[in-house]
């Protein structure tokens, strides 16, 4: 049946009028974060030395990049950008080009085909994912590992965004469940953090529905409404769980986890007060062109950072294996198809143009971050650490060593940008571990296949 637009009726507004706080909040000890008091490291959670928030984000682009056009020439500080990274020239002093980082668990090994499912899901987890269409098992991704510890500092522990609107039905990359290909962030090895691809919904989730001036009240009313039913659904879920077998209990665990996060959000209302209400129009919806979609999602991430709604974010610009055309830049062939260029110069040139186009959108984001002033007078970019990379290195060969990765931002002064850091051959997860360390995460001895912190960044 054709969907009709949801009528916004008087009923609904009446309904949300703010159920009084008289409704008792169930007392759950899960509300109190376990590590609030633990300050083994002198670093405060996700805060720079000047007291400004410290942010981290992880952004992917699909299908690797043509190595010959990606890698700079020259050494540590006297390097020259090559054509793909040329759009970053103006931002040179705020970025680092990192080479020699690997995700070896994305290699086929005994699993055979499926480099795009792997490239995508290993990118932030560093584990060998389980090859199955239905029994999914990856690992905890770095953003979630960080959010687990520093998430309590903001209203939202983390934000997962995506520019992928079109998901295929049926089977995905040879024998792997589609879950692997459409998610970057994994909260647990079996529960991916589904990203939001509609900018309007991202905005409404962050700031509330309605126009400027109405949003905070709407957001609060909604939270109060949720609170009123928590007791009932919690009891219901626990009783259901006790009836189920072990395998099913895991499914209910996901539900209960969600409830716990909701409780934290409700408690955060008291802790942080009403959410910010930017003097901006709510985005209309998903833009038509892929370029615009990326731009607006980057803008959402910026807003989320600017309002300190969160300090941890991920963005999937396109899933690995993406085969869309790039009509916007005059390339009608499928991207994935082109990356299997068989050394044809024409096709290589086209792929390089697509690579550069993704970098351009990212550069625009960095410029915006640089424009916006943070609470300590520095720019947002100064107080951020942003990873931009792909889970595939050479798309033609499906290789996963020497991944194309950029680290942007100054990390509140903790990073040394403006350099081309060549690490030889180290796990990319070492980089992630280092970022976690700078974010003040004290409780992460390893992630995936990491062997320690990454020197030199």
């Amino acid at each position: 049946m054709p969907p009709s637009p949801l009528a916004s009726s008087l009923n609904r507004r009446h309904f949300l009028k703010g159920l009084s706080a008289c409704v008792a909040l169930p007392a759950f000890s899960s509300l109190i974060p376990s590590n609030l008091s633990a300050t083994a490291s002198a670093r405060a959670s996700a805060t720079s030395s000047t007291g400004a928030p410290l942010r981290t984000a992880f952004i992917n682009f699909p299908n690797g990049a043509i190595p010959a056009h990606w890698w700079p020439e020259g050494g540590l500080t006297d390097f020259r950008f090559n054509q793909t990274l040329e759009p970053l020239a103006d931002l040179r002093s705020s970025v680092q080009v990192l080479s020699g980082l690997d995700q070896l668990n994305a290699n086929p090994g005994s699993d055979g085909g499926g480099d795009h499912a792997r490239g995508n899901s290993v990118f932030l987890t560093g584990v060998r994912i389980k090859k199955s269409a239905t029994d999914i098992r990856a690992g905890v991704s770095i953003d979630q590992a960080i959010a687990r510890e520093v998430g309590h500092t903001t209203r939202f522990p983390s934000l997962e965004l995506s520019c992928v609107t079109n998901r295929r039905t049926g089977t995905c990359d040879t024998g792997y469940s589609c879950a692997y290909q459409y998610n970057l962030a994994w909260k647990t090895p079996t529960n991916p953090m589904t990203p939001e691809s509609n900018p309007r919904r991202v905005f409404e989730r962050l700031f509330g529905e309605g126009g400027h001036g109405e949003r905070s009240a709407n957001a609060q009313a909604r939270m109060m409404n949720h609170r009123s039913i928590l007791d009932f659904v919690m009891t219901d879920a626990k009783r259901m769980q006790s009836r189920l077998g072990l395998r099913d209990q895991e499914k209910l665990d996901q539900y209960l986890n969600g409830i716990r996060e909701l409780e934290v959000r409700i408690a955060n209302l008291e802790k942080f007060g009403a959410p910010a209400d930017p003097d901006l129009a709510t985005p209309a919806g998903v833009p038509f062109s892929h370029g615009e979609h990326q731009d607006i999602m980057y803008e959402m991430m910026l807003l989320a950072f600017q309002t300190d709604s969160t300090r941890v974010a991920t963005l999937m610009t396109a899933h690995d294996g993406d085969n869309r055309s790039h009509e916007e830049i005059g390339i009608p062939e499928g991207h994935h198809e082109l990356t299997h260029h068989q050394n044809n110069a024409d096709r290589i040139a086209k792929v390089a143009r697509i690579d550069r186009w993704y970098v351009q959108r990212f550069a625009k984001f960095l410029e915006r971050l640089r424009e916006v002033q943070d609470v300590d007078g520095n720019s947002l970019l100064h107080n951020s650490m942003i990873v931009f990379g792909s889970g595939n290195a050479d798309g033609n060969r499906h290789s996963h060593d020497n991944l194309p990765i950029i680290l942007a931002g100054h990390g509140g002064g903790e990073l040394n940008p403006g350099r081309y850091v060549q690490s030889g051959s180290k796990p990319a997860t070492n980089l992630f571990l280092s970022l976690a360390d700078k974010m003040g995460v004290s409780d992460l001895p390893r992630l995936g296949d990491s062997t320690g912190l990454l020197a030199g960044i």
């Binding site: 691809s197 919904r201 879920a237 099913d248 969600g258 209309a284 869309r324 009608p332």
Partner: protein, 857 residues
């Protein structure tokens, strides 16, 4: 191994006859509890000689083609179910042993299959393992449908919830339907929104009249319009002037408000930004209220509200549109859609009315006396919770709900209706609504190893299978009386005849045959056209244009600028040229409907399943018939068309859906088409590509590659034995379809080289044309298709991937098909009576559980 030795070994084996006899004796003595030692012994006696004869040359004595070893079984390794399932599948489909090698007789093959099922899988035909389902989370479509059936509200979950994970080709597989924290929040939000929209919590409301959709169109058009023009009547083109007027009668004097919603929309899927604008004027009673210029604005809705004090009489509404730009680049077919007009009033409270659906939710109104009110609340919430949870609600839960309702309505500014509504929000947010639980407590009462599921669970399985929604009142009533199972066949008939079965057709065929995806497929019609009508001059111009347009205008030399002007004009002519296109609103939509209607007809009229592969008819409208080159079909409506006798069309494989979906944006992909057929028609999917695939460059130089046709390039696949084993299976199938380009159009040549569709299947059948291939699939390989179809259907019906023990159910489904000549009714019947659908594993024998010993309440 030297040939001589192999020969020697073969000669010393017992005669084939006695092997067969041995099998027959064993297969008839069914034993459900053979120890692994027994199995090893029986393997040595009955199977090993067979393997030695036909398999060890490649899978034994140290060789292991395709990574398969068949001569190293021990009591530990013999129970590798996945391997044996592959052996069963490949021998059944005659893929193994390969055609050119010695191969077993039919009797030997079926004996092997029987042994695998009875001894190795240890399937007890009288009581096969039915497997078990995880709690199944409702997917988006199921959620939307269930909400509609429960509350009458249209909630578009596909717009709000993130896309579901899919596995095994379907999005209703419980194991992969995860629940992230964000999704949980959305369920909570949805519960509020849905109840807020559906349930009238005010006994008296402002009279509201919302005109939208066809109701709105009827106001403005003086005479009734045919269906396909009705949609468009209030979508006014940006490019030409138009007017629409309507009159609206007011019966009571008073203060009114009129809200108009407008939505500029674009109707073409790609290629740049359309800069055209139009001016829209809206007048009420000849007074201009809106006078504004609009442009393409990505689906944004513009809303305007006006106040009036009116006397009874006719009021008039009028729209006029006129274009304000005349840019010839009308790329997007921009239209101004009049989305809705809402009139509220009179605003004076004395004229307020009871909402239309108040009685539906609060029949008779909520009593004011406390005892009566409590009973009323209990009754209402008990009914609603029972329906929402799809089984009777227990007393404790009901009490909790009533308490919630009472405490909410006791608050300042809240009435009884709102209290009840809030309890309904809690019900919709509860896991018992979101998940389908199958009452394990019930099963503890049974001692059988594989008990029947309870009747409420059966009702849900049936309704979500055939309707993608909750059971209806009749199914509930039968389940409550314990009579559903006894009336299963009659209920099945009723459900299939019901309109809601449309969901089965669009969801099952939509995913199995990818009809769902065709609307968003990306095919570049220009590139395809150029491929089939190659023009070297055009290629040169195209290349030159692409190079020179990258240079910013102020940096071009005069020579480059001249090239730009010249090639741009050529490109303009090319783009403007009348040529076939695939538009989502026309051709692609018709393709989806063709696939769905074709499939639906075969199932509903009980045609032999073979007709899915090879038929002499299909469903077309004018636009699609033009793509197919079929004459005599006029108009937008899809209708059944008898095909000419020599037509290559007819059957799934020559439908636009399959042909376009399996293509790349600029060319066909025979490999993808071959894989599709292997996975979805023959049920013998190729193994994954091996690691370290040598690149095609290693096989031939770039110059050689450039000269080769696609067929010749693919032939390189088959020179390397590592690649050949799979490509021998895939390539001939895909190449047979090369006469159909990526848009599904027929062509005799590609890039100037004639297409040669002939080939040979790996099972030996030769064909010279697509007609011959379809015939082979529908006859020689029909049994393979029956197995594949049964697997897909059973997977979708259960909502889980299939395991080795499901072979029993599949066999019964295929046997039913073969006995009935391929009638779909027979396979559905076998399915709904099969063990996996009717039963589940006893909780105590299922996966280990910490709570297995907890007795039910």
């Amino acid at each position: 191994m030297p040939n001589l030795v192999r020969l020697f070994l073969r000669r010393t084996l017992p005669l084939r006859k006695s092997i067969v006899l041995g099998f027959v004796a064993l297969a008839s003595s069914v034993s459900a509890s053979l120890t692994t030692t027994d199995v090893m012994a029986s393997y040595r006696d009955n199977v090993e000689p067979l393997f030695d004869n036909y398999c060890y040359d490649c899978h034994g004595f140290g060789t292991n083609e395709g990574g398969v070893t068949l001569d190293e079984f021990t009591t530990e390794t013999i129970q590798d179910h996945e391997l044996w399932e592959r052996i069963l599948r490949n021998t059944r489909a005659h893929i193994m042993p390969p055609l050119e090698e010695a191969h077993p007789t039919a009797a030997e093959r079926s004996s092997l299959a029987a042994w695998i099922k009875s001894d190795l899988f240890a399937i007890d035909p009288a009581n096969p393992d039915p497997g078990e389902l995880t709690v199944q989370r409702l997917n988006r479509i199921e959620y939307s449908n269930t909400i509609f059936d429960l509350l009458g509200v249209e909630f578009d979950a596909t717009d709000t919830f993130p896309k579901d994970n899919s596995g095994e080709g379907f999005d209703n597989i419980g194991e992969v339907l995860t629940l992230s924290p964000m999704l949980l929040e959305k369920y909570f939000d949805a519960a509020i929104n849905i109840v807020g929209d559906a349930v009238p919590t005010d006994p008296l409301v402002l009279p509201t009249d919302t005109l939208s959709g066809s109701k709105l169109v009827r106001r403005f058009s003086s005479s009734p319009l045919p269906d396909d023009e009705s949609d468009d009547y209030l979508q006014l083109s940006f490019y030409q002037p138009s007017q629409r007027t309507a009159s609206y009668r007011i019966d009571e004097a008073g203060h009114y408000q009129v809200t108009v919603k407008l939505k500029p929309q674009s109707f073409v899927s790609f290629q740049g930004f359309d800069y055209n604008k139009c001016r829209l004027r809206f007048s009420i009673n000849d007074e201009v209220k809106i006078d504004q210029e609009f442009e393409n604005s990505s689906g944004k809705v513009f809303s305007y509200t006006f106040d009036y004090d009116w006397q009874p009489g006719e009021q008039s509404f009028a729209f006029s549109v006129e274009p304000t730009t005349d840019d010839p680049e009308r790329i997007k077919r921009l239209k101004m859609r009049v989305d809705s007009i809402t009139v509220t009033g009179p605003h004076d409270r004395q004229h307020w009315v009871q909402p239309e659906d108040y009685d539906k939710f609060f029949p008779g109104g909520v009593p004011s006396a406390p005892a009566a009110r409590l009973a009323y609340t209990e009754q209402l919430l008990g009914d609603f919770a029972t329906r929402a949870f799809r089984r009777p609600v227990d007393a404790e839960t009901l009490e909790h709900l009533v308490d919630l309702a009472t405490s909410v309505s006791a608050q300042e500014g809240y009435n009884d209706e709102m209290g009840i509504a809030q309890a309904m929000v809690a019900i919709l947010a509860s896991p018992r609504f979101i998940f389908r639980e199958e009452s394990p407590e019930f099963l503890y009462f049974f001692s059988e190893k594989h008990p029947f599921i309870d009747e409420y669970s059966l009702a849900s399985r049936l309704s979500y299978f055939l309707w993608s929604s909750m059971p209806d009142a009749e199914l509930f009533a039968l389940a409550a009386a314990g009579q559903l199972r006894a009336n299963l066949d009659a209920q099945f008939e009723r459900m299939m005849a019901d309109d809601r079965s449309e969901n089965f057709f669009s969801n099952f065929a939509g995913q199995w045959l990818h009809a769902r995806d065709i609307g968003s497929v990306n095919i570049n019609s220009i590139e395809i056209w150029l491929r089939d009508n190659p023009d070297p001059e055009m290629f040169k111009s195209q290349r030159a244009y692409q190079v020179v347009r990258e240079i910013p205008e102020n940096q071009r030399t005069s020579e480059q600028q001249a090239t730009y002007t010249r090639t741009r004009a050529i490109m303009r002519k090319l783009y403007d040229m009348k040529r076939p296109k695939l538009s989502p609103y026309s051709e692609l939509r018709a393709m989806r409907e063709e696939t769905e209607m074709f499939f639906e007809n075969i199932i509903r009229t009980d045609r032999p399943l073979a007709e899915l592969l090879d038929s002499d008819y299909t469903y077309l409208n004018e636009a699609l018939a033009e793509i197919y080159g079929i004459e005599g079909v006029k108009g937008k409506k899809m209708r059944r068309v008898q095909l000419p006798p020599d037509s290559p069309r007819g059957g799934i494989l020559t439908q636009g859906t399959f042909l376009a979906y399996t293509s790349n944006p600029t060319r066909t992909s025979p490999v993808k088409r071959g894989v599709f057929i292997l996975e979805n028609i023959l049920g013998t999917p190729p193994a994954a590509p091996p690691p370290n695939i040598p690149s095609l460059e290693d096989a031939a130089s770039p110059e050689e590659l450039a000269q080769m046709s696609l067929r010749e390039t693919l032939a390189l696949h088959r020179e390397n034995p590592l690649c050949a084993s799979c490509h021998e299976r895939m390539d001939p199938l895909g190449l047979a379809l090369e006469n159909f380009n990526a848009m599904g159009m027929w062509r005799d040549a590609e890039l100037g080289q004639p297409v040669e569709p002939g080939g040979q299947l790996v099972t030996g059948e030769k064909f010279d044309s697509i007609q011959e291939l379809k015939h082979i699939l529908a006859t020689d390989r029909l049994r393979d298709f029956y197995y594949c179809f049964s697997e897909k259907l059973l997977t979708y019906a259960l909502g889980r991937g299939l395991e080795y023990y499901d072979t029993a159910a599949l066999d019964s489904m295929v046997d039913a098909l073969e006995s009935s000549g391929g009638k779909p009714s027979s396979v559905f019947h076998a399915l709904i009576h099969s063990a996996p659908f009717q039963k589940t594993r006893h909780p105590q024998t299922s996966s280990p559980s910490a709570h297995a010993s907890v007795p039910p309440r």
